[in-house]
């Protein structure tokens, strides 16, 4: 598994440097939504790694190496979650440093967790499709999801919704992720199993 994570990281090393630069830029901009961009952007790292896998037909070889299909799938989830966590930490550090000089607003743990939850949801929804249809077709779906999310956000903003307490929202989010993450991994393993790697 560690070999797979290193493979993904080293494959996208050049893009990762650009990501790091952009995350710092997003963090410097004193607008809370910019850190959301940085975190959601890093959630797309496994898709870039998958694109390299598809291009080189890595999985044809990988299924013959000492890796199970579950490990091949799981490594992409871990890579995505790890990239988001690193991105959130970097944003927090940059914002905290700026806070010393009274520039921008410091980030809160709840704010960061909410943004990471959005990124994790994106990973969980898109990866099963990427594993089933490949990155090229899967990216179309990604654009569709982003479009639907923006539209939903716009309508929800206009709608008068009843007030929900933060604790209720937290419990709902934890329950949703307890189903979403294992459910998505299960679907990805099934999708990857159906895909003809050879």
């Amino acid at each position: 598994m560690l070999g797979l994570l290193f493979k993904d990281l080293l494959s996208i090393a050049r893009q990762a440097k650009i990501y790091l630069f952009l995350i710092v830029i997003f963090s410097i901009i004193p607008d809370a939504s910019m850190t959301a961009f940085a975190i959601v952007y890093s959630a797309m790292m496994p898709i870039t790694a998958l694109a390299y896998d598809d291009q080189s037909k890595w999985n044809t070889l990988a299924v013959m190496m000492p890796y199970s299909r579950l490990e091949l799938v799981l490594s992409k989830y871990l890579f995505g979650f790890g990239a988001m966590l690193a991105s959130a930490l970097l944003c927090t550090i940059v914002r905290s440093v700026l806070g010393i000089f009274n520039v921008g607003e410091p980030v809160t743990a709840a704010d960061m967790l909410a943004k990471m939850a959005a990124g994790a949801a994106l990973i969980c929804i898109t990866l099963p499709f990427m594993f089933r249809f490949g990155v090229e077709k899967g990216r179309l779906l990604l654009f569709g999801i982003v479009g639907i999310t923006i539209a939903a956000g716009f309508f929800l903003d206009k709608a008068e919704l009843p007030e929900i307490s933060a604790s209720t929202l937290s419990i709902a989010a934890i329950l949703a992720f307890a189903i979403l993450v294992p459910g998505s991994i299960w679907l990805s393993v099934k999708a990857f199993g159906r895909r003809n790697c050879f």
Binding site: L2, G3, L4, F6, K7, L10, S11, I12, A13, R14, Y52, D53, Q55, S56, K57, W58, T60, L61, V63, M64, M65, P66, Y67, S68, C197, F198
Partner: protein, 281 residues
């Protein structure tokens, strides 16, 4: 012990069926899997490695059923090289070495660096800038650097120039000096197989036509060039393949069942395969 043991293996696709067939690769030997493009060689390798699910039959690799839970551990002992080197393009030989160190428990960094040096490969050049020959040499270096007991090579030498091919065949010969090491080498370059293999398995249109010791094949078969009338007088059982022309008949025969008085020429592996394939057609 057999390094590979196949029994009743069968896989059907929409327009192609492979098998059913049996095949044994004895430990310590090199077997050449030969056949035209699309004959089923790569499919056989996919089935051996359980990358493809078979419809029928069983495969044991290094004594372990390839569908069982223990097969994952057996993969540690198998070095695999496919017809292309399927590594992500931004990686270098050094980075791949680092990745493989965290993939194979028995990865030997010194051995890998030795192969990379001996095969004249750059350590820090991106894989995308490698020539095909360099890519295949790197794939072979990786396959041989985790103390594998079995090498499975699918068209690893095709598309390479004769000098690189010869270099790689020398590496394979060196590998099988250890009697516990075995190689399954698929290729349609028969001259390569003739150089290094102990056994030849010939797959034609999804059917295994024979699996024999190479020396025995060359010893048992011969070529005769006779007139049509002499040919017609021969026992059909000794004729394995035939080419007829207005000038006479050329046939592949089993020497032992041929009557005396007919000149028999030595045959090459390529001739045996060509005659047999035409005979089946």
């Amino acid at each position: 012990m057999n390094a590979i043991e196949i029994r009743g293996l069968k896989k059907s696709f929409k327009d192609f069926t492979l098998g059913p067939f049996d095949l044994d690769l004895p430990e310590g030997s090199i077997m050449g899997l030969v056949g035209e493009n699309g004959a089923g060689k790569s499919t056989t390798i996919g089935l051996i490695m359980n990358a493809l699910r078979s419809d029928e039959g069983t495969v044991k690799v290094l004594g372990i059923d390839n569908k069982g839970p223990s097969f994952r551990a057996v993969k540690e002992d198998i070095g695999i090289v496919l017809d292309e080197a399927y590594y992500p393009e931004p990686l270098t030989a050094r980075k791949l070495g680092f990745i493989m160190k965290h993939t194979y428990a028995a990865w030997d960094e010194g051995l890998y660096e030795g192969y990379v040096k001996d095969l004249d490969l750059p350590m820090n050049k991106a894989f995308k800038d490698f020539s095909r020959g360099m890519k295949m040499k790197l794939a072979i270096a990786i396959a041989m650097s985790h103390k594998a007991r079995l090498l499975i090579l699918d068209e690893a030498t095709s598309g390479l120039d004769p000098i690189v091919r010869d270099e790689i065949l020398d590496v394979f010969n060196e590998f099988t000096r250890d009697e516990k090491h075995s190689i399954l080498l698929s290729s349609h370059i028969v001259s390569d197989l003739e150089k290094v293999c102990d056994y030849i398995a010939f797959i034609h249109k999804g059917r295994l036509l024979f699996c024999e010791e190479k020396d025995r094949l060359l010893e048992d078969y011969g070529i005769i060039k006779v007139s049509s009338s002499v040919y017609d007088s021969l026992d059909p059982a000794c004729i394995k393949g035939v080419k007829k022309s207005p000038y006479g008949v050329e046939a592949l025969v089993t020497k032992s069942s041929l009557p005396g008085g007919i000149d028999v020429e030595h045959t090459s592996l390529e001739d045996v395969i060509l005659f047999l394939a035409k005979g089946v057609n």
